[in-house]
Subunit: 158 residues, 3 copies
Amino acid sequence: MEQMFSKLKFITNGEGFIDISNDLNLLIKENKFCSGIINLTSLHTSCSLTINENADPNVLKDLKKYMQSIVPYDSYASLSRNKEEVFYEHYQEGADDMPAHIKTSLTNINLCLSFQKSKIILGIWQSIYLWEHRFEKKERSISVHLIGEKCPNIYNRI
Amino acid sequence: MEQMFSKLKFITNGEGFIDISNDLNLLIKENKFCSGIINLTSLHTSCSLTINENADPNVLKDLKKYMQSIVPYDSYASLSRNKEEVFYEHYQEGADDMPAHIKTSLTNINLCLSFQKSKIILGIWQSIYLWEHRFEKKERSISVHLIGEKCPNIYNRI
Amino acid sequence: MEQMFSKLKFITNGEGFIDISNDLNLLIKENKFCSGIINLTSLHTSCSLTINENADPNVLKDLKKYMQSIVPYDSYASLSRNKEEVFYEHYQEGADDMPAHIKTSLTNINLCLSFQKSKIILGIWQSIYLWEHRFEKKERSISVHLIGEKCPNIYNRI
């Protein structure tokens, strides 16, 4: 078994989801790993990793809306006052600061997935998402660690 | 180190839990893996994997009841109107459709567990559960991936 | 690749967080593992593992306060009656019994992290926390499983 360490960077665009499944599968292929595990860790405390439906975009919309409803923004840090008062003690970076930390701990920062034939094993309706919880555009780094068997080098045989 | 890929199928019976710990330990034993990791991925977006108490069945009952209380069913898709109105935009498969996706992201779809002496390392009160979030009976597939050392073949030595 | 199994014990002091990052890095170093994965499983059903901010202690304070707000204590088991009535069916060990099980399933019991140069790959603001959900002091065991490459033994070369 061999291993390889890498980092993937993504630019997010406010609260929402980026489907990173293809980038991860590409990394596996390019590094000629055939079967093994791909271990993912988001290196931040205000965005997460989640696996959910890739067919109807309303699933992601509802998921975001739901999370906003159970983790209210900080009205102390917020400009708007037209809502229930919420006072987090950690609010220095704005109304989305502490909510982003909470949303991160309610979902996942780490996923360990299996791959076979250079492709991550997922159901047909599943994609892997980087879930941004901050309002602003951010550069996010995901640590990607492959452990497994390399593909047999067919071209060398010719 | 060696690896092995498999899939386990379970028939669920509406919202609730199936203890899959024994099936997983059996798979490890039958494949003669001695020590390593067992990587589990639920291949669906409306059921999850969780580890919780295996002694008092009321724990699972309360866990389900709690999750129903913080993730309300869609009253638009629901027949019953006697509750707070909730309108998800993704509701095509019924009142439990979007709630099931949300519950999945609030819990886990992926667990990477360690095993030794062909047995998953868990506390005595812990079991691994497949947690069904849909109302209807479903066939569910769990990807099971073993990486580790095989057991020494004692019988061959005789 | 080699593997090693260990257990780390921690004494918690009521609801709250213990930063276990240094203990884990030390274990990797002492066992001369250079690169690989460290697989963590909390062997309990009423405490969890989470990764969150290590800079402002108010983050952990708010995180705990938030979790208490969405998972109410059992008022039936609780001495205090001055709150919304909550009746869990599993309450034998007190007002924090069932809430602790719920908080455990809403966060993580298992983390699989990558390490390189004998150090867990994390962002600079991230620490790994053991999150105690019970009121009382408890002894908690975390299963720690290392898989990876050992460090080259430099001293032997001299």
